[in-house]
């Protein structure tokens, strides 16, 4: 399970890099990032992490809501027996 978490965070890191590269870098006249690209990558990465964190909170809420609904339903079924 721990290995899965490492694998998943590496996967997320890879997808973050891919996305911010795609959105921020589009000029290939030199082999080094220019100042604008570098700043864009930093903003993109920060934004992506804040976004992920917020979705994570919502995801947790929605999951536990669903779980309590499930339990309420199962109790009703028990009572109806």
């Amino acid at each position: 399970i721990e290995q899965m978490q490492v694998r998943d965070s590496l996967r997320m890191y890879n997808s973050l890099v891919e996305r911010c590269f795609r959105d921020c870098v589009s000029e290939f006249r030199s082999k080094d990032l220019n100042a604008g690209e570098e700043k864009c990558v930093q903003s993109c990465a920060t934004k992506f992490m804040k976004h992920s964190a917020r979705v994570g909170i919502r995801f947790g809420e929605l999951s536990s809501e669903a779980e309590s609904q499930m339990q309420a339903m199962m109790q009703q079924q028990q009572a109806g027996k």
Binding site: M4, D8, R58
Partner: protein, 81 residues
Amino acid sequence: MAQAGQPDPAAAIEMAKQEMDYRVNLFNAMVSSCYEKCIDKRYKDGELSVGENSCIDRCSSKYWQVTGIVGQMLGAQGGMQ
């Protein structure tokens, strides 16, 4: 000596792994889908705007509802071939 209601440990671990795998994939899909729908890709800075934040909340909720609808449809026809 596995009995109904008392599955053997190896199978239980396998199921827990798949459950977690499924949840991680769902979360990742939610993150990237809502990123596409809600985030301004100009990356002036690393902050999420008020509009982006409320879009993320609603997007997470709607995404969750879509998984519910699709899950019900697949359940109704006995899984997906």
